[in-house]
């Protein structure tokens, strides 16, 4: 196996709040190979978006490392940051608020190229914008329109085109399809996969939707209250979900599938709370039906079968 494209080592992100330290991301270790997709799944507030933003240095990390092709990007000085911007980009969730409403589609896509000084002349920039738009399935006649004139699907294509404009090798996709209707969602997912095949892109795909993540990912990381609870190859995870939380998630997903219609449901009780000054031990314990005294101790992520990691002292 070659060296991973992106890797994090014990990445931590804490926020100070009125009532204590919020452990939004706790000791996350992940590896993403070239041309592969890591799906990050979890419910709202589990720290998945914060993780993506911390990797891209949109928020300062509390501790840990983010390696891009072996280099720690968190140690980059201001002058090195361009390397990060050229290689690592992001696609945002909300196709409405992620595009500056006062810029035309052309300018939105051209701005990263200008800022990063990729081309010298206006002509080159314009040609590049046209290329990128075509690549992302945007008709050329949209170039002079403004975001509010487009529907969600086209806007999300513009968001993707803006990220693609600097030809990055790694893209963090933060719930890029959850604000879209299903028919549009499928178009965007296909586009993402086509681009990946063409250009050997690596994705970190953040979502709460298990169907989507299964479709697009090679590996999946399940997060709960800032921690990784399970990490495995996609097929393996769906075939043998080990962590009780992963199992509950899989059981809860409604699917348009008659065979699951009359299954026995073990609905998860309780709700997620904020990981503010969390006690050591399993954070899922209060909602877990298997929990007992043993779960108060440390529950590190351990490898139960090759490439399948679980943080639960009840399994493996």
């Amino acid at each position: 196996m070659s060296a991973p494209m992106v890797e994090t080592i014990n990445l931590k992100k804490y926020f100070k709040t009125g009532s204590g330290m919020l452990h939004a991301v706790e000791d996350v270790n992940l590896k993403i190979e070239k041309g592969k997709t890591l799906g990050v799944v979890g419910e709202s507030g589990c720290g998945k978006s914060t993780l993506g933003r911390t990797i891209l240095r949109l928020q300062p990390a509390t501790d840990g490392q983010v390696l891009y092709e072996g280099e720690d990007v968190l140690k980059y000085k201001k002058k090195d940051m361009k390397k990060l911007h050229l290689n690592m980009q992001m696609v945002f969730q909300d196709p409405f608020s992620s595009l500056d409403p006062r810029m035309s589609i052309h300018n939105l896509i051209a701005e990263p190229i200008e800022v990063c000084d990729i081309f010298k002349t206006k002509k080159e920039i314009n040609e590049h914008v046209v290329r990128i738009m075509e690549m992302c399935g945007l008709p050329a006649n949209l170039a002079n329109l403004y975001p509010h004139e487009l529907d969600g699907g086209f806007r999300q294509r513009v968001g993707l085109a803006r990220a693609m404009a600097v030809s990055p090798k790694f893209i963090v996709c933060d719930e890029p399809v959850s604000a879209l209707d299903v028919s549009i969602q499928a178009q965007i997912l296909n586009l993402l996969m086509d681009l990946q095949d063409e250009r050997q892109l690596s994705y970190m795909f953040i979502t709460h939707d298990l169907c989507v993540v299964k479709h697009i990912s090679n590996e999946i990381m399940v997060m709960y209250m800032g921690q990784t609870v399970e990490y495995a190859k996609t097929a393996e995870l769906f075939a043998h979900p080990l962590h009780p939380y992963t199992q509950a998630l899989l059981e809860a997903v409604p699917t348009p599938d008659l065979s699951r219609r009359n299954r026995e449901r073990n609905t998860l009780k309780g709700e997620v709370s904020n990981p503010i000054n969390p006690a050591p031990g399993c954070r899922f314990k209060p909602r877990c039906r298997f929990a007992d005294k043993e779960c108060d101790g440390e529950c590190p992520l351990k490898e139960v079968s090759p490439g399948h990691l679980v943080a639960c002292c009840k399994c493996g």
């Binding site: 933003r53 891209l56 949109l58 940051m81 361009k82 911007h85 980009q89 992001m90 945002f92 969730q93 909300d94 608020s97 992620s98 595009l99 500056d100 409403p101 006062r102 035309s104 701005e111 990263p112 800022v115 990063c116 008709p139 006649n141 949209l142 329109l145 403004y146 509010h148 004139e149 968001g159 803006r162 990220a163 404009a165 600097v166």
Partner: protein, 291 residues
Amino acid sequence: MFKRKKKSLSEYSMGELVMFRFRKNKLAMFGVFLLAAVFLAVLLAPVLSSYDNVVQMHVKDRFTSPNGSYIFGTDEFGRDLFARVLYGGRISLLASFAIIGIALVMGALIGGAAGYFGGRVDSVLMRVVDMLMAVPSTLLAMAIITALGNGVWKLVVALAVSQIARFSRIVRSAVLTLRNVEFIEAAQCYGCSSLRIIVKHILPNGIGPIIVSATLNLGQTILSISSMGYLGLGVASPTPEWGTIISENKANIQAYPYLGLIPGICIALTVMAVNFIGDGLRDAFDPRTKN
């Protein structure tokens, strides 16, 4: 679907859309028309009447009611009210714009820095702003006048300073609402500098509410200026100003109502025009407030 055959409503840029909605607002357009008329009259004051008429006393023509030669009549010294109102308007309007301009620039610097940089910068600056806000602005202005003494430009400074805190707040909240919007994060993602983000993204998007409150405050500032003039602070006689014109004629209004009505209506119409424009801009920038 996307061909530009003829411009339908959905094919305007945000700026054009704002102008479109503004132009559709009849009251706002009336305000623009009115204010333009006032401006034109005031600008053309030297053409319409000469400055000599402002101070020249035609003792014979004391208390002449409005007629052909004296459009607005004359006061107790036989001075031409029309000339005084025109030249007075120059001072009132110029001073008001200067006040709003100063307060806006200072407020934008303070509020912008506080909102964009956040953290310690924000808390220190906002502490100061809170201090200033604790004193009613009229009182603050009067205290500053006590120190500086009388004079138009001293009055401008006093009233501008008393408004800085308010504008800082407005700018800060405009910046704060944009600070965490995803397109700002996207700009950081491809390495936009702070300056470029402020100039290219935050300013064009945040300017709407700031312009609106500046306009609405302009109306109140015109009132403040003339109130101060009326109270004898700021502009000294014989220099005319809308407020001083009313106060110097106060004793004669009962007998000669036009001396009070004309300058009063001038102030009211100007302020109303500005308020119409402000309301129109508010609805145009944020159509949700209307319906």
